[in-house]
Symmetry: C2
Subunit: 235 residues, 2 copies
DNA sequence: CAGTCATATGACTGGGGAGTCATAGGAGTC
DNA sequence: GACTCCTATGACTCCCCAGTCATATGACTG
């Protein structure tokens, strides 16, 4: 956690620092990111930086946590009675929305899942679970009602969905030739019909990937059940 | 490309160096990998290293290229008449096989797709292209025969599949806690039933994602319909 | 004014790491 | 033995980086 000093800072200065953090961690890997560059960009001395944050990791964690909760707030929590397709649609739209509003923040979150990044969300954090567990929960629920096939592991399914969704912005940008910095300014890119079509196709495929076959509870529910992310072995 | 000196080396020494490269790049990110450690492990002076390779990237590229072609050779090219499911299965099983034979090499390739790694295969190189080629071909063929749905864009579908398949190694490592260095010693990790289950689940889901619904050529076929995503985007 | 507390600062330290270079074998050739 | 390639070597240079510290500013207190 950042030191109290950081939170006592005048709003303007604090957000300048947060912007600098976002810039740096959006543009570079955690390892490659440099505190010197951050402080230079923020117009703050290095000594100050270490009066705000315990260390580089602390600053990074603060940034990522903020972005993750922003991301989650944006999406909102789907009502429990929502169908899987609705949940998925909400996630896709939320992802697009978030990317549109805060491309750099989005890049930071995307990077935060890479090998190089410290595991902020992997184990110790509650936020970790949030996004993935969200999907996992929705899938498990769908399996229970028979809406979704129950012959696949919810964790694996959740991973697959997350994996696809996280790649979408990059794919869209590459395919439709949208420059990264351009994306930052023009918020409207994702409103183009071709791009909406991509989103539609993806949701359609993901839904089909998990659709139940009309006979709830068929097949052996044993293997897949009760095996959320962490729990392995003893099959 | 490595200098000729490298290829003139006695077999034993050259492979010692290659092993050291593999060790280092399997255990660490490209940025984190250190030439000093590599030379120390290989029992070679740093000066020699730079007589073999232009620079760190050159050595890395040499390693990854070798591994990629080994990987591709192992998989072979699927026959054109293979079904989509067969192609997918072959790809996934190929990954299995490769891991069993060369866990460290497998880890290097898995890492080579991360943010941090220089883009050796992003555009000009084989592995990514290879998989996309297979999938695109298989999808086009499948859509033609009615095996696969044709209401989604083939390019988008191919991208999605590629995206999922390329992420599998990382996911498996993360989920089952296979450290790259640990993977080096326990060659049997991939034989665990849970991992086989992941592979099975993914293939099943991807096949389902693209399956035709018995009425080839129909648009608007079933599961995913009713909520065109793009339409909602009109905020 | 004197004192105290929170905040700012940037030179500095210690630790790597990539890439270089002067020097030293060693193996053939005449 | 002398000359020439090719190969080895590790100390060395330059650069960057995370984190520290002695020092300074300034506001508020009495």
């Amino acid at each position: 956690m950042p030191h109290p000093t950081f939170f006592n800072l005048p709003e303007e200065k604090r957000s300048r620092i947060e912007e600098a953090l976002k810039d740096e961690f959006a543009a570079r890997t955690y390892t490659q990111a440099s505190v010197d560059r951050i402080t230079a960009a923020a117009g703050v001395s290095k000594g100050s930086f270490y009066q705000y944050f315990v260390d580089k990791l602390d600053a990074y964690t603060h940034l990522v946590r903020g972005l993750m909760s922003a991301r989650i707030d944006l999406a909102g929590t789907p009502p429990p009675e929502a169908t899987f397709e609705e949940v998925l649609t909400a996630i896709v739209l939320g992802s697009h929305d978030f990317h549109r509003r805060d491309p750099r923040g989005w890049a930071v979150l995307a990077r935060s899942l890479s090998d190089d990044a410290p595991a902020i969300l992997d184990s110790d954090e509650a936020l970790s679970e949030d996004i993935r567990q969200w999907t996992t929960t929705a899938i498990a629920a769908g399996q229970a009602t028979g809406e979704l096939r129950d012959d696949v592991d919810p964790g694996t399914a959740a991973w697959m969905i997350e994996r696809v969704l996280l790649g979408v912005p990059h794919y869209v940008m590459a395919r439709f030739g949208i420059a990264p910095d351009h994306a930052a300014t023009t918020g409207s890119a994702f409103d183009q019909p071709e791009i909406a079509a991509v989103a539609r196709d993806l949701v359609a495929m993901l839904v089909a990937a998990l659709a139940g076959n009309g006979t709830p509870g068929r097949r052996d529910a044993g293997t897949a059940q009760g095996t959320p992310l962490g729990a392995q072995n003893s099959d």
